[in-house]
Each structure stands twice: as structure tokens, then as C-alpha cells.
């Protein structure tokens, strides 16, 4: 048994609590579904348009940017933990790595990838 068992216990427990509360509410609450109640909310009107899965491309662009930066950050975690042992060489190498990334960041900025329009 190790620390991860605690995580597993917490996961199961959280699921049981949340699921149990919904289950309890579905038993205790009354049931009276009417067509108006089940219709999608549109401030009382008939829904003009329903979501069809088409969204602006800029949301997708943000996701791509996130993946770029997040991969970079995944590399930073192990380096940060071992920073004291790596010494000057490690610091220099990381500064070069971040410098390269910074160039890419400036390039993306210059090309308007970070604009929200």
C-alpha cells in the first residue's frame, strides 16, 4: 500500500458522494415534466438556433498554443527539481532552452497568433 491508494480512495469517495446526492435528489424530488420545462432555455422564446458544433477558429488556435507551451513546461518540471544538483551547466542549458522558446514566442506574437480577433 502506498500514497496512490489514498488518491484512489479519494476518487471513489468523491464519486460516491456526488452520485449519492444526485440519486437522493432524484428519489426525493417530485416528477412533473412538461414540454415547456424540458425545452432549451431561451428567455421564454422558442429557441432560434441550437448548437450545431460550429465554433470560431480562435478557440482552436488557443488550444494549439496551449499544447506548445505545456510541452515546454513539462520539460521544466524535472529540471526545476534537480536544479541544485545540476549547477551552472544546468542553469546555462535551461537559459538556452528558454531563450529558444522566447524567440518562438516573440515570432508567434509578431505574426499575430496571440491576437484575439
Amino acid at each position: 500500500m502506498n500514497e496512490h491508494t489514498g488518491i484512489a480512495v479519494a476518487l471513489v469517495l468523491a464519486g460516491v458522494i456526488a452520485g449519492g446526492m444526485v440519486w437522493l435528489a432524484s428519489i426525493l424530488g417530485k416528477k412533473n415534466p412538461t414540454p415547456g420545462k424540458l425545452a432549451p432555455f431561451e428567455c421564454g422564446n422558442e429557441p432560434i438556433a441550437l448548437p450545431t458544433g460550429r465554433l470560431a477558429i480562435k478557440f482552436y488556435m488557443t488550444a494549439i498554443l496551449f499544447i506548445l507551451f505545456d510541452v515546454e513546461l513539462v520539460f521544466l518540471y524535472p529540471w526545476a527539481v534537480l536544479y541544485r544538483d545540476l549547477g551552472v551547466l544546468g542553469l546555462t542549458e535551461m537559459f538556452i532552452f528558454l531563450g529558444v522558446l522566447l524567440v518562438g514566442f516573440v515570432y508567434a506574437w509578431d505574426n499575430g497568433a496571440l491576437e484575439w480577433k
Binding site: 478557440f59 505545456d70 521544466l76 518540471y77 480577433k117
Partner: protein, 412 residues
């Protein structure tokens, strides 16, 4: 060092796997569940009270002393509400989403140390776990918006996705800065490397950490979808965003998950920057380590106080600042927080390399003292200046408000 398993072993000698599992469920699961519920109920009550007093109202007053039991009453009422799944919704995802959201914010409690031994899982990947599992809550939010078959919900969901994904980067940058200073990702290890006087806290460890803390705090506000970053549930544009179609208990679970997440990020702020369970008074802390029971009790009180202070600041900000626009939100993240965070990370790492080395005879600690004085004096002067600048305006408004109400504020 130790976690709850050592405590179970100490209570029951040679308990074995199943004995330990039962022990963990009984000793840990029940208190932490009660604690999450208390935190949720108390935070919701606190939010209503803080908002009321900021707006010169009283807030809930009827149920219990100063309305303290109002949230409990609301919860019981919500249990008796009808469970509505709207027509055309993806029934499976619709039901799963609030549970996913709740699980995401509940499980992060596992790596929050409430005292030297009061931790569920002392993972050696502690803060990485925070960054990874903390995002599951957002998946619940996105699933909720997508499954609702309502365009407001879908807009709320994509906004939530964009926001959480973007602010993950500055948040991780400040987490990495902390890892660089502490040399570990374990939350216990991070707190232990802040032992000693208050200027050993990572907030005062070097001049860049104050900025790093601000980045962490702003990013955590955005991760929790709190104002001024409450775009996913902007009620003036999107009705209530991703949970427009939710009602009754499912809505309550979203609500509870949001407040639990608020508390978790604040507790993590206390752990990472504000010395965790340490009081910051060196003789008191070293005396407390001699007594495990007292050490854990005082430690838990210290971290809970710090966490609730940060929660209070979150509420204060919510009722002070207007919501920002989507483009402003992206601008703040990618053009301010990310570059500043990167520079701060490099500078903090460099500073740690130069002044943090043990062979320099604790120069870092002496610097910490000096920087602590600078920060405290600077903050005091700034607050005094701000008060002086806004005094006439605030008091004029206040008097006008009093006159309009026709009675003293505070008595309704």
C-alpha cells in the same frame, strides 16, 4: 515526514492491507468529507455575507445566528427539487458532468497538507498532481455545456475551455518557480523548506517571488472561473453559461465544486508561498515540532487561516472588479502573465543559484529579512496613499447612501 498511513499504523499495530484501507476510509475519509462540506457551506455563507457588506446590505440573517445555517437550509431545499434533464440533452454526459467536476476539485484535497502529518497522500509529484487533476474540473464544465443542447451553455463551455487552458500556463510557470526554489514537487517537502522565521517563506525568498505569487493568484482566479474571470458563466451575456440548464441537486454539486476549488487553490497558495502550516515565528515552530499532536493542531489552524484569508480576497475581488472581456482575458494571459512569468522564473532560478547556496553562509536568509521589511513597509505606504486618495470619494458616496436609506448603515 509522514502521511496518514503512518498514523493508521501507529494506531493499529500491523494492520495489513485491508486493515489499513479500512483505517484510511474511517480515519481520513469521514473527516475530510465533513471538512469539504463545512468548507463549502461556510464559503457560500461567507460569500453572501461579504457581498452583502460590500454593498451596504446585511445578507442572510434569519436561519441561525447571522444566517449561518442558511446554506444548509438551501441544500435541504435543493434535495427536494425536481431532477430535470432537458429535451435533446446528452443524458449520459449531462449526468456525468457535475460528478466529474466535483471529483476534480475534491481529489486535489489529497495533496493539501493541513499539518506535518495531516495529508492523505504525500506524493513526490504533489504540485504536478495539482496542475493535472485540478483541470479535471474544467472537463466537467465543458461536458456540462456540451451536453445541455443549449447555445448559451456551449458558449460558456468553450469559454471555460479557452480560459482554463490558457491560464494553466502562467499557473504552471509559478509552480515551476516554486519547485526550483524547493528542489522538490512534494507539498510536504515544499512546506518544510520554508521553515523558520516569516522571511523564509517563499513569498519573501527573493524579490521576484512577490510577482510570482501575483501570477499564481491571478491564474488561480481564472482557473476557478471567479470574477473578474467569470466569463464562462457571465450571467449578463450567457444567462448562466455552462450550467444554464442545470437545476436542483446537480446545480448544487457544481456550486459545491466551485467553492471547494476556490478553497483548494487558496490552500495551495498558502502551502506554496505562505509557509503552509508554519506560523512564521521560529521559536514557536521549533517548539511545536516536539509535540506531534499540538504541532498538527496549530499547523492546521495556521493553514486554514491563511487559506480563508486568500478565499476572502477572492470574494473581495469578485465584488469589487467588473468582468473583463474575452479579448482582455486572452491579452492578460498571453501578453502579460506568460512573458512576465517566464522572466520571473529565469530571474528566480538565477537568484536561487547565486544567493541560495548554503556555502554563502545563509545570505539568502539575511536578504529575506531585508526584503520582508521592504515589502511590508512598501505595502503599508501604498495602502495609506490609496486610502488618502480615495477617502473623499468613498465617504461622500457612503454618506449619500446613508441619507438615501434614511438610517444608519448596518441596521436594517
Amino acid at each position: 515526514m509522514g502521511d496518514f498511513f503512518t498514523l493508521v499504523d501507529w494506531a493499529v499495530e500491523d494492520a495489513g492491507f485491508w486493515g489499513r484501507l479500512i483505517g484510511v476510509v474511517a480515519v481520513w475519509a469521514v473527516p475530510i468529507t465533513v471538512w469539504v462540506s463545512v468548507v463549502g457551506l461556510f464559503s457560500i455563507w461567507l460569500e453572501r455575507k461579504v457581498s452583502a457588506h460590500i454593498q451596504c446590505r446585511l445578507g442572510p440573517m434569519e436561519v441561525g445566528p447571522h444566517g449561518a445555517l442558511q446554506t444548509l437550509a438551501d441544500g435541504i431545499k435543493l434535495l427536494a427539487k425536481e431532477d430535470i434533464i432537458p429535451q435533446g440533452a446528452d443524458r449520459f454526459l449531462f449526468a456525468l458532468a457535475p460528478i466529474l467536476s466535483f471529483v476534480g476539485s475534491f481529489v486535489v484535497f489529497a495533496v493539501v497538507p493541513f499539518g506535518p502529518h495531516l495529508i492523505i497522500a504525500d506524493l513526490n509529484l504533489g504540485i504536478y498532481f495539482l496542475a493535472a487533476i485540478g483541470s479535471i474540473e474544467a472537463i466537467g464544465v465543458i461536458a456540462a455545456g456540451w451536453a445541455s443542447n443549449n447555445k448559451w451553455s456551449v458558449f460558456g463551455a468553450v469559454r471555460a475551455a479557452t480560459q482554463v487552458v490558457s491560464y494553466e500556463i502562467p499557473l504552471s510557470l509559478s509552480l515551476v518557480t516554486i519547485a526550483c526554489l524547493a528542489g522538490t514537487l512534494s507539498t510536504i517537502g515544499i512546506v518544510e523548506s520554508q521553515a523558520g522565521w516569516i522571511w523564509n517563506w517563499f513569498l519573501f525568498r527573493n524579490p521576484f517571488m512577490v510577482i510570482s505569487f501575483l501570477i499564481f493568484y491571478i491564474a488561480s482566479l481564472a482557473e476557478c472561473k471567479r470574477a473578474p474571470f467569470d466569463l464562462p458563466e457571465a450571467e449578463s451575456e450567457l444567462v448562466s453559461g455552462f450550467h444554464t440548464e442545470y437545476s436542483g441537486m446537480r446545480f448544487a454539486i457544481f456550486f459545491l465544486a466551485e467553492y471547494a476549488a476556490m478553497y483548494v487553490v487558496s490552500a495551495m497558495g498558502a502551502v506554496l508561498f505562505l509557509g503552509g502550516w508554519y506560523t512564521g515565528i521560529e521559536p514557536l515552530d521549533s517548539w511545536l515540532t516536539t509535540s506531534p499532536v499540538l504541532g498538527n493542531v496549530v499547523g492546521a489552524l495556521a493553514i486554514i487561516t491563511k487559506a480563508f484569508f486568500l478565499v476572502f480576497v477572492q470574494m473581495w475581488l469578485r465584488w469589487t472588479l467588473p468582468r473583463i472581456r474575452l479579448d482582455q482575458m486572452m491579452y492578460l494571459c498571453f501578453k502579460v502573465l506568460v512573458p512576465v512569468g517566464m522572466v520571473v522564473f529565469m530571474a528566480a532560478a538565477f537568484w536561487q543559484g547565486v544567493f541560495g547556496a548554503p556555502d554563502l553562509g545563509g545570505l539568502g536568509s539575511k536578504f529575506g529579512l531585508a526584503w520582508f521589511v521592504v515589502v511590508v513597509v512598501g505595502t503599508t505606504l501604498w495602502v495609506k496613499k490609496t486610502i488618502r486618495r480615495t477617502k473623499g470619494y468613498a465617504s461622500a458616496n457612503f454618506l449619500e447612501h446613508q441619507a438615501r436609506l434614511g438610517h444608519d448603515v448596518g441596521v436594517s
